[in-house]
């Protein structure tokens, strides 16, 4: 297991150049984009600011310094664990991100759960009952999932389940019932894709020799599917799963807006519109960290699922 520790350590060290690279690219991009944070701050509700006021504010915010000076100042802050303060709210960026992240995480995890609960049975059943009704149904769902835009599906679900049937609340964060519609909306596209992915790899595995051997030796079908086939079929799905976690986190932006979910996505978008540089930087860095960590977890879980990968790593 020493090698696993080293491996994790090495991966964590890789984080440093990744983070620096990400922060430089973000910094460059937001500075290239049109829009002046000082002016946007003063304009907020449609009043036109005077040139003097904008200039004074730019000076105060240090926006008149060369970009590399601004970046240096920001980086020095980060090294002291200070990501700066939001232009818009005046609060520390770390606090702003951490206070909103739990809501987004809650939504993302719920969506992932939905993906699992939907995709795993659907994928397995579609593979076992290939070309039967359930397979066609899962194919149609996959097609719908891939082609329905999230905001439209969300509005549709709200209309039927909240306005017409009154089963779930229309919007907001609260108890378990508040979570269902946004989680289904967020997870639907991915669930549909996963079901198809799992079906394909199940079919692939089911055609292999060791499955025939298992069946020939008289093993019960549930063991053949559950132990031998699924375990092998699940690997490609795990890869996707890790990557999608980040995708779901990022994809929650629109869902958060529609369901008035007080998460980090909407806050990030508002910050982008307002050119709230410290928040954008902090957000991108934070998301990059999560992406990298999620991928690391996936790599580690490979070893647990497939001993061959562990051996490769060791050699």
């Amino acid at each position: 297991m020493i090698s696993l520790k080293n491996y994790i350590l090495k991966r964590l060290l890789y984080l440093i150049p990744v983070m620096i690279g990400v922060s430089i690219i973000t910094f460059a991009l937001i500075n290239l984009a049109p829009g002046d944070p000082a002016e946007l701050m003063l304009r907020a509700e449609g009043m036109e600011p005077t040139r003097e006021a904008v200039e004074a504010l730019r000076e105060e915010m240090g926006l008149n310094d060369p970009v590399y000076v601004q970046y240096g100042r920001w980086l020095a802050g980060v090294l002291h664990l200070d990501m700066g303060k939001s232009y818009r709210t005046g609060r520390p960026v770390t606090e702003e991100i951490l206070s909103r992240f739990p809501a987004t995480l809650e939504l993302t995890v719920a969506a992932l759960l939905f993906v699992l609960l939907f995709a795993v049975p659907a994928g397995i059943l579609a593979a076992i009952y290939r070309h039967a009704f359930i397979d066609h149904l899962s194919r149609i769902m996959a097609l719908l999932g891939a082609s329905l835009p999230g905001f439209w599906l969300g509005l549709l679900l709200i209309y039927f389940f909240a306005v017409k049937l009154g089963i779930f609340p229309v919007m907001g964060r609260g108890g378990f019932s508040h979570l269902i519609l946004p989680a289904v909306t967020l997870g639907f596209a991915m669930a549909a894709v996963y079901a198809r992915l799992l079906r394909a790899s199940m079919l692939d595995v089911l055609g292999q020799d060791f499955i025939k051997v298992a069946r020939a030796k008289g093993l019960q079908e549930k063991w053949v599917i559950g132990r031998h086939a699924l375990k092998n079929a699940v690997l490609p799905a795990v890869t996707m799963f890790g990557m999608s976690f980040g995708g779901l986190l990022g994809g929650s932006v629109i869902i958060e807006t529609i369901f008035a979910w007080p998460g980090i996505g909407k806050f990030a978008v508002d910050s982008i519109f307002n050119r709230d540089y410290p928040v954008i930087q902090g957000y991108v860095l934070f998301m990059a960290l999560i992406f990298v960590l999620a991928n690391l977890l996936v790599d580690i879980s490979y070893g647990l699922l497939d001993p061959r990968i562990r051996l490769e790593r060791r050699s």
Partner: protein
């Protein structure tokens, strides 16, 4: 076995995570005697400190914050926390505060408290120092004496800007950052609960100085998406939904449980011409454009009746606005004739030209206000009728592009006079060299009127100067003023006493009640 273990671990972790994040939520609320009024709000505050940025707007909307004066339904200045005011000399104002006003913590609001609050605003709000332009404030009992740096006739109206909400500055000092989530104000409602990004719950202030509120509990919820706001209204989760898109009003009108309230805003959508560009530097071309635009069509059809055809920059709801001005009537033939006389003749492609120059322009628009690109497209086809070809370009930050001078025309939306005074817009948008005079318009006549306004204190006289200035703008055809958009709010039929005002930040007051 290992797989089982891993799966079990994963499942347990996921549940633990959900439970951990779920701990922050409350369960169901205990039953209440009186139903709270729940309001769905499109835009949201970053915190509740009125002095900070634009958060004062929300303090006033939520019925918690009050300023010294307010703008009434007809946009005239009314007393609020101030009982009266007088101009001692050109630079000095004496303002008398009401006797019985108390902060939500029970402290009296006197001259010293108002002075401290205004000084706090000037210190922390970026817009305040320039607009208020205060040299000194002196407190005497229940009065304050304010000295301006230079004569400032719009001083009293500026006090209606929500950044000047009167707060208990001493409490703010003591509470530090806590004040942002628990401000001490004076309004008919006080804060019950604040959940960042989510909702604000307010409750009737039983010690209010004025008429006590009819409604006991009011909850404001942030619902940024307009469709969701409407569906929340239809499902009964909220009773008021603000900023309803015009195209939805027809559907809502059919619902017997709902009513739609609308009122002109103090905003204008207008076309800014760059007067330095060939063609647009000719008054005949600009006049022709003004005549070719069918404003009624824009307001009624393109904006589904959620706009009012404009004459000048200021909406008719303002005492110095709209009515009485001689604007441009829709007259395609007249416009064509005007262009013919000026030597702009239709070419083979239908586009008019003169001396090798074609009447071909790129006009900018932006998506922040979704109706603007649509209005621009409608005008594109209206202008084509008279032989002017318009390309439309969507930009993200229109003001920045215009500032660079590299543009020909742009459709733009201004909030003209939120506190009911014309001076700010005349100075910044229309006077020579004004900071937002993007098209480089310059008129001696208008400049003289603007200067006169800067030293005129009498309201009637100010109104008449503002009207005169608008007629100059119209006659010069320096801009094309298009429509005044309306504010549309949808309400449950059981909500009573709700009055929509042109100023967007007045909402919750003592009169509103909900009998659900």
């Amino acid at each position: 076995m290992r797989l089982k273990k891993a799966v079990a671990c994963a499942v347990i972790t996921v549940f633990l995570m959900i439970m951990a994040v779920g701990c922050g939520n409350e369960g169901t609320k205990p039953p209440q005697e009186e139903k709270p009024l729940t309001v769905g709000w499109a835009q949201w505050c970053t915190n509740l400190d009125p002095g900070d940025g634009y958060n004062g707007w929300y303090a006033v909307e939520f019925g918690m914050g009050e300023t010294l004066v307010k703008t009434g339904k007809k946009m005239e200045i009314e007393p609020w926390l101030a009982e009266s005011w007088e101009r001692v000399d050109d630079n000095t104002w004496k303002i008398k505060i009401r006797d019985s006003v108390k902060f939500h913590n029970g402290k009296d609001v006197d001259g010293a408290a108002v002075k401290a609050s205004l000084e706090r605003t000037i210190k922390m709000n970026k817009r305040a120092p320039g607009l208020l332009d205060i040299a000194s404030i002196e407190a005497q009992g229940n009065e304050i004496i304010v000295k301006n740096n230079k004569p400032n006739p719009s001083f009293i109206t500026t006090l209606a800007d929500p950044f000047a909400v009167i707060v208990d500055a001493a409490a703010a000092e003591e509470m530090g950052d806590q004040f942002m989530e628990n401000p001490v104000l004076t309004g008919p409602f006080k804060l019950k609960k604040y959940v960042k990004d989510e909702r604000v719950e307010v409750v009737r202030n039983e010690d209010y100085w004025g008429e006590k509120a009819k409604q006991k509990d009011v909850v404001f919820k942030s619902i940024p998406d307009a469709n969701t706001r409407l569906m929340a209204l239809q499902s009964g989760e909220i009773q008021v939904a603000d900023k309803i898109p015009a195209e939805q009003t027809a559907t809502l009108g059919k619902d017997k449980d709902l009513k739609v309230l609308s009122e002109s805003s103090v905003r204008v959508h207008m076309l800014i011409f760059n007067l330095k560009k060939p063609g647009l530097d000719e008054i005949s071309v600009r006049k022709a454009i003004n005549m070719a635009v069918n404003r009624e069509d824009l307001a009624q059809k393109v904006m589904s009746e959620s706009g009012i055809a404009a004459a000048g920059p200021f909406p008719a709801v303002l005492p110095f606005g709209g009515s009485g001005l001689k604007g441009y009537d829709y007259n395609v033939e007249g416009a064509k004739k005007l262009l013919d006389e000026a030597g702009w003749k239709p070419g083979g492609d239908g586009v008019r030209q003169k001396d090798g120059k074609k009447l071909e322009y790129t006009f900018l628009t932006y998506k922040n206000r979704p109706e603007l690109p649509v209005l621009m497209e409608a005008m594109q086809s209206q202008l084509k009728e008279i032989g002017i070809k318009v390309e439309i370009k969507n930009v993200e930050n229109a003001s920045e592009v215009m500032e660079s001078g590299d543009f020909e025309g742009c459709i733009y939306s201004f909030s003209t006079a939120p506190t009911g005074d014309p001076q700010y817009m005349l100075e910044t948008v229309f006077m020579t060299g004004g900071d937002n005079n993007y098209g480089s318009y310059s008129s001696e006549k208008l400049d003289a009127l603007g200067k006169k306004l800067q030293s005129t204190f009498d309201t009637e006289e100010r109104n008449s100067i503002a009207r005169e200035a608008q007629q100059v703008l119209i006659d010069d055809a320096a801009f094309a003023f298009l429509v005044y958009p309306k504010i549309i709010t949808a309400v449950d039929k059981d909500v009573e006493g709700l009055d929509i005002t042109p100023t967007e930040y007045y909402f919750l007051d003592s009169k509103i009640s909900y009998k659900g």
